[in-house]
């Protein structure tokens, strides 16, 4: 029976409408409680900023894709080296660091829950193996369905129930959490060296369009009662003029759920581009955020780009091929049989480069022009836009117009003509930052009910105490203090234990993997369907029996069972 009292905390807890009250947080057995006895261990927060543990709803930290990034960039391991110390293994790497480096760095920044943005079902075991070493955050995995043959065939047949049955069985089999759709249809076309283009083109052989694949997967997602909504990486990522495709996708999104969004669109910065080629490339963040402002059924994450070296990695194989043709640097390309694709290349976002400078501005514009912070999450699509260690700088940019103006002076001078950023004077407050970095993310993922993203009684005791005294600083002017404060907590508390203190880990950690198991009736069990079984015999290199990830790969885990009615 372990209990802990965090005293004198300056608490911001948006889900419980607490905005900067000095209070004590009582913790018992990993949960927040009303009060604890005097014998409890005490942490004095000294009036410093105290938030629910950070939640990252889109990041790439574990799995085959990240690991390929590691093999192909040994030079990345020259940065970010850390020696072994009690409770910490030696680490190295910056944009594709070791698993321990990721978990330590997230913990140092006060994050306690992270979602891996893209797990190919066929390669799920690797993701879970790495998850078990990502010891300081609870982990969840979005599971890729964008080029799934069975799904596309069921869509072609117009059989929604079957789509739901396939998705439901697959999620439970691979211990996935959400439905990820990366460049729908495009990843299958990539198997033939092609891309799909926009949402009304037909996928070769299957005869279905991205719009249809998405419509069906959104509805199947709701039919399965999944905690999270469909999670979409829209077609045409990174192409000038792609905002039209983004707007049409948004326009079509239905509103089917009253607890959360029906569609989560990820790294929207990469999808808000105007112009028709690189020469007239410009921001269309205004149109995209205008649409978002009138579509409460959609939530997005920024996909903020920050300057410096990083690695891009995505299931979007054809997009990475385009990037490779642009940079002529190293490139990894992968076709995941019957399911999806992937590509990886290292990049360097430069302030001198006009396109990169515009990309940097667009991410910030999206966050500043989205009226409701619950609809826009703070993320960099780690490591695609920048490694997540840049979050404190992103926070400061959103809170301080002065900081933005100073940064604008350092970027390509032609940027101002192509973006809206210089005209935006909005400065987000700490409550909005808390929404964008934890509360909204937990809500969007549908994990508030299992105790994430808030500090109410019964919630998981995941707490971050930052060395920031909100009453003593003006974030608009003291942006450096915001950056420093968010870079390293005084304490990160996970499930009721202090797990890191001023950047040093205090325990080896013991995370949980959160996954879903939709309850599907015997007659809709797709794994008993003769045609589905035949697909494994004829096309997959693994058998149906070897495909599911056994529970022993998960160590501690939280299974969310859902009622489906199918």
């Amino acid at each position: 029976m372990h209990s802990l009292l965090v005293k004198n905390a300056y608490v911001i807890d948006p889900l419980n409408n607490i905005r900067g009250e000095i209070m004590d947080i009582a913790i018992k057995d990993g949960k927040i409680v009303e009060s604890v006895k005097d014998s409890a261990e005490v942490i004095d927060a000294k009036g410093q900023l105290t938030l629910p543990g950070g939640v990252d709803s889109h990041s790439h930290i574990c799995g085959t894709k990240v690991n390929f990034g590691r093999y192909m960039s040994p030079e990345d391991m020259r940065a970010g080296r850390g020696r072994a110390q009690p409770y910490m293994y030696p680490v190295s790497g910056y944009s594709v660091p070791t698993v321990y480096a990721n978990t330590y760095r997230y913990s140092k920044m006060g994050y306690t829950t992270v979602l891996e943005g893209a797990m190919a079902p066929l390669e799920a075991r690797h993701t879970h193996e790495e998850f078990s070493y990502n010891t300081l955050q609870d982990t969840l995995a979005n599971t890729l369905f964008d080029g799934n043959w069975s799904v596309m065939e069921a869509v072609a047949e117009g059989d929604l129930k079957k789509v739901a049955a396939i998705v439901g069985w697959t999620l439970a089999a691979v211990k996935g959490f959400g439905v990820k759709i990366t460049n729908p249809g495009g990843t299958e076309m990539w198997g033939w060296g092609k891309d799909i283009g926009c949402i009304h083109k037909k996928v070769d052989y299957f005869g279905v369009t991205p719009a249809e694949i998405l419509d069906y997967l959104i509805r199947a997602n709701e039919m399965l009662n999944l905690p999270h909504s469909a999670h979409l990486h829209t077609n045409n990522l990174g192409k000038p003029g792609n905002y039209k495709c983004t707007l049409e996708t948004m326009q079509r999104a239905p509103d089917l759920n009253d607890k959360r969004q029906t569609l989560y669109m990820t790294h929207v910065q990469f999808h808000s581009y105007g112009g028709s080629k690189w020469a007239d490339f410009c921001s269309k963040a205004d149109d995209v955020s205008w649409m978002l402002n009138r579509k409460p059924n959609i939530a997005i994450d920024m996909g903020q780009v920050m300057f410096g070296k990083t690695t891009t990695m995505t299931a979007d194989g054809p997009m990475e091929f385009n990037l490779y043709r642009l940079h002529h640097n190293k490139w990894s390309n992968h076709d995941v049989e019957l399911e999806t694709a992937s590509g990886i290349i290292p990049v360097h976002y430069s302030r001198k480069n006009l396109v990169n400078s515009i990309m940097w501005a667009i991410g910030l514009e999206l966050a500043l022009m989205t009226k409701n912070p619950w609809q826009c999450m703070l993320a960099t699509d780690n490591p695609n836009g920048a490694p997540f260690v840049k979050y404190p700088e992103v926070i400061a940019l959103l809170m301080s117009q002065k900081y933005r103006e100073e940064q604008l002076k350092t970027v390509n001078p032609d940027t101002e003509k192509r973006v809206f950023l210089p005209s935006l004077d909005r400065e987000l407050d700490i409550n909005e930052i808390a929404i964008m970095t934890r509360a909204a993310q937990a809500k969007a993922l549908g994990i508030v009910d299992i105790g994430k993203g808030h500090l109410g009684v019964g919630a998981d005791a995941d707490v971050a105490v930052y060395p920031i005294k909100m009453d003593d600083i003006d974030p608009s002017k003291d942006y450096q203090k915001i950056i420093d404060g968010f870079s390293q907590t005084d304490y990160t508390i996970k499930r009721g234990r202090a797990v890191s203190k001023k950047g040093d880990c205090l325990v080896l950690g013991d995370n949980a993997t959160i996954w879903v198991k939709p309850k599907i009736s015997e007659k809709n069990d797709i794994s008993k369907d003769p045609e589905f079984m035949k697909k494994f015999e004829r096309y997959y290199t693994v058998s149906l029996d070897n495909y599911p990830v056994q529970e022993e790969y998960l160590h501690r885990n939280i299974c969310i069972e859902t009622e489906t009615g199918i």
């Binding site: 192909m72 960039s73 040994p74 030079e75 990345d76 020259r78 002529h328």
Partner: protein, 260 residues
Amino acid sequence: MKITLAIKKRDNPYIPIEAEAITTKTFLEKKPEDISVWYGNSEQKLTEIFDVRVEGDAKSEDEVTIIMSGNCSAVKRVGEYMNGGIIEIEGNIGHHCGNFMSGGLIEIRGNAESWLGREMRGGKIICHGDAQNYCGSGYRGEKKGMTGGTIEVMGSAGDFTAETLAGGEVIIRGNTGNLAGAEMIDGTLKIYGDAHLPCANMKGGTCHVYGTAYNVLPTFEYKGLIKAGDQASQMHMFNGDIANRNAKGTLYAAKYEFFK
């Protein structure tokens, strides 16, 4: 200032010694008893591993000479980031000797292990014996390896000699293994013996092979016999590697065989 480092007898001579502390600058700033090296997984005083003798004074690195004797083939990173002065190694030396050095001279009487002068910026390394793999190259994944200075190996060198060479000069008096000058972008590589698969994927710079260049890739464009290099006879000239856009590299070979 003259420092003599005689390596002591060890129970296990294969345990690596990480000795980036052995550079001219360290001895200018610290007393020998305050310098430490890593012996396997334990940090030890330099004086535990070597018999150290210091004679005279110095005001700058240029006035420091370090003489190392005994079998130093497990002593790594000697002369890392060296800026001036002299290191003389009487026998063999371990991996990564002269990493990132930018000035001064390292002279090795024996053989050098792999990564001799990796990512060197300036100064000179002379190795009288053989050098192993990756002599004068960049480290793994690095696009830009050595950018300045000179490495001269009197014997032969291993595979990937001068990989990603971006400046300076690498001279191998003997043969090289596979892929010498691979990915080179600038600078000069001279091989007085034979080379295999030389300059694969080069984008710039010049390579001379005075022996036979074996397995020249078909992506090298033959330009004819030309008077080049420092020997009397004419040499075969190639442009490459045209697998790259705007490849500006030049390969000269006294004799050659295309890859079959």
